[in-house]
């Protein structure tokens, strides 16, 4: 415990006013005490600055930062397969989507609309956590401004962000997921859904998920 707290300097003045400590001459002429106080604040001027000139210099969050959730755009289309897990996991029910099928597309399923109501979103990160496709991730955007309520409902045009721009977060996720599951659950073998998380290595070959899983099985054999 700090020494200066054991015997507070003004200890006695409240119990009996007669016991009030007599001020010394220097304290009575008042100026030295003023300068002592000013010296404290003057010292702080040479300390490293803690604040940030916000609009000019912007805060660059680390990759772990949970900003606004975005959809990952991969090769010109969303990764999302509209499974609806994020909408189900969302505590404030901010996500809504409509699934549709497209047999021409190797991915087969896609959301016809995907909306996140940013007035409801609480940035908890559960959508990202449950997504089996790494299709919805938390970005670094933290200052969202709306002038109307309708503006706050983000649709696909606002949500889609190219994969390259989210590289830091995706890399972080990969490392974090590996750290999280790799040691004891071993999803690659146990769980089909999570095995597609490793598909990124071959995603550039524009194989469909089904093809990739088949290829994985072949390789495993």
């Amino acid at each position: 415990m700090s020494e200066n707290l054991e015997i507070p300097r003004a200890n006695s003045i409240y119990k009996k006013s007669t016991e009030e400590r007599k001020l010394s001459f220097l304290e009575r002429i008042y100026l030295p005490e003023i300068f002592r106080g000013l010296w404290f604040t003057l010292k702080q001027m040479f300390q490293p600055k803690f604040t940030m000139q916000y609009p000019e210099t912007r805060f660059d969050p680390p990759p772990i930062f949970r900003g606004r959730p975005v959809l990952v755009e991969d090769n010109g289309q969303e990764r999302c397969v509209a499974c609806g897990l994020c909408a189900r996991a969302c505590p404030p029910l901010a996500i809504s989507m409509q699934a549709s099928e497209n047999s021409d597309d190797p991915k087969e399923r896609y959301p016809t609309f995907f909306e996140i109501n940013m007035l409801r979103c609480i940035y908890c990160g559960y959508c990202e956590e449950v997504c089996p496709e790494e299709a919805i991730v938390m970005s670094k955007d933290y200052d969202l401004v709306f002038s109307e309520r309708e503006e706050a409902v983000y649709d696909k045009t606002k949500l889609l962000v190219r994969k390259e721009e989210l590289k830091e977060r995706l890399d972080y996720l990969r490392e974090y997921k590996n750290r999280q599951f790799g040691s004891f659950w071993n999803f690659d073998e146990e769980n089909n859904i999570h095995s597609v998380r490793n598909r990124d290595k071959r995603w550039e070959t524009s194989l469909s998920l089904v093809e990739m899983i088949e290829q994985q099985r072949k390789e495993a054999k």
Binding site: S2, F65, R66
Partner: protein
């Protein structure tokens, strides 16, 4: 119908003084938009001149149906982000409390690494919360400088939290059965360097504020909360300890791994005035920060490097039918969660015993007879967070 208790709700009749002037009691509203009520608290004050004769706190402006909302969630983990939003300046402690309640209900055992990280996080959060409480208490009374230094220190803690959890205020970090993710590799060095730099800052704070004569005059002998009154009202946390009652759940009903650490329970001693005045409640918070530092240091030393933070997280959280009441010590006092499970994936009922709510109930008892300017000091010293009062 609910009938408001208290002496003399109606206006008193004008009293004619000797010199022919008529005086009358006046009712004045403090808040809900008052900067020193720490949120949207409205206190209805009946004043006789400048003396408060009656103070009635009106709450509910921030009511968000937390308890009902929990029942609407279809999964237990979804409750955790809302638990954060109860006491939003001490979110880690809230999560910790809820996680412990659920783990007791489901009989989950945690590994040492998780427990240590949780304790370090909870204690860091306690320091951050006390810094905010102390800083704004000074600010309410008119000391602006210490507030800024408190905030810069709090910022360092938030940086540590941000590195670990990805959020600065509402973390969603402590999950049922584990943690959201492991701490970064440089967590230990970060925390120990913070501990090292923070100790001298407490001394600085004492020089600036605790022993400041103006501050002493404003807080000593003001808002005296006697020991018996505090116990009768069910006050907990630093406000109770400020009245000289040695009661700390970390010591008296150890949860998590607090029984492994050595620390003192700080109590007020009435050093500058009466036991249980505003200064005592304030100084308990300042000294508690040092105790938290002690716990953090011990926890850092014994924290194992190995251990999976996801080891005990169940794949599906479906507790057996039953009920549990578990209590933890948050920076504001005893936070209890009463959870009833009906064997489904969502809680049947969640009741939170919020310390701020209970602590606020003593306000009418201790503010009678105070000057109107002292109301700010009294409200600041019991350190309420309106998010938790209203839930």
């Amino acid at each position: 119908m609910f009938k408001e208790k208290g002496p003399d709700v109606t206006f008193s009749q004008p009293v004619e003084e000797a010199d022919g002037l008529k005086t009358q009691e006046m009712i004045i509203n403090m808040g809900p938009q008052h900067p020193s009520t720490h949120g949207v608290l409205r206190v209805e004050l009946t004043l006789d001149g400048e003396i408060v004769t009656r103070a009635v706190p009106h709450i509910g402006y921030l009511h968000r149906c937390f308890e009902k909302h929990c029942e609407a969630m279809n999964e237990y983990p979804k409750v955790i982000p809302y638990v954060d939003r109860m006491d939003y300046v001490a979110a880690m402690n809230n999560e910790h409390g809820f996680a412990i309640a659920m783990e007791q209900l489901m009989e989950i055992e945690l590994n040492d690494r998780v427990e240590h990280i949780r304790v370090i996080m909870a204690e860091l959060q306690r320091i951050a919360s006390h810094l905010l409480a102390v800083g704004t208490f000074g600010l309410d009374i008119g000391a602006f400088t210490p507030f800024l230094y408190c905030f810069s220190e709090r910022e360092k803690i938030l940086d540590i939290f941000e590195k670990a959890s990805g959020a600065r205020l509402l973390y969603n970090y402590i999950w049922i059965g584990g943690l959201m993710n492991d701490v970064p590799d440089d967590f230990k060095t970060d925390v120990s360097s913070f501990v090292k730099t923070f100790r001298p800052k407490i001394k600085e704070l004492n020089d600036l504020l605790s022993n400041n004569k103006i501050f002493l005059v404003r807080t000593a002998n003001v808002g005296v909360l006697p020991e018996k009154v505090a116990i009768n009202y069910g006050i907990s946390g630093p406000s109770l300890r400020g009245s000289g009652v040695k009661w700390d759940l970390r010591r008296d009903d150890p949860y998590s791994i607090y029984d492994r650490f050595e620390f003192d329970v700080v109590v007020g001693k009435g050093e500058v005035g009466t036991l249980g005045d505003c200064w005592d409640r304030y100084i308990v918070r300042v000294r508690e920060m040092e105790e938290s530092l002690k716990i953090i240091e011990q926890a850092l030393e014994s924290m194992p490097d190995e251990g999976d933070v996801h080891e005990s997280i169940p794949k599906k959280i479906r507790p057996p039918a039953g009920e549990i009441y578990s209590r933890t010590e948050t920076p504001r006092g005893e936070l209890g969660y009463y959870v009833i499970s009906d064997k489904s994936t969502s809680p049947y009922r969640v009741k939170a015993r919020a310390p701020s709510f209970v602590n606020l109930s003593v306000l009418p008892a201790i503010s009678v007879g105070a000057m109107i300017a002292d109301m700010v000091a009294i409200i600041g010293s019991i350190d309420i967070v309106l998010g938790e009062v209203d839930r």
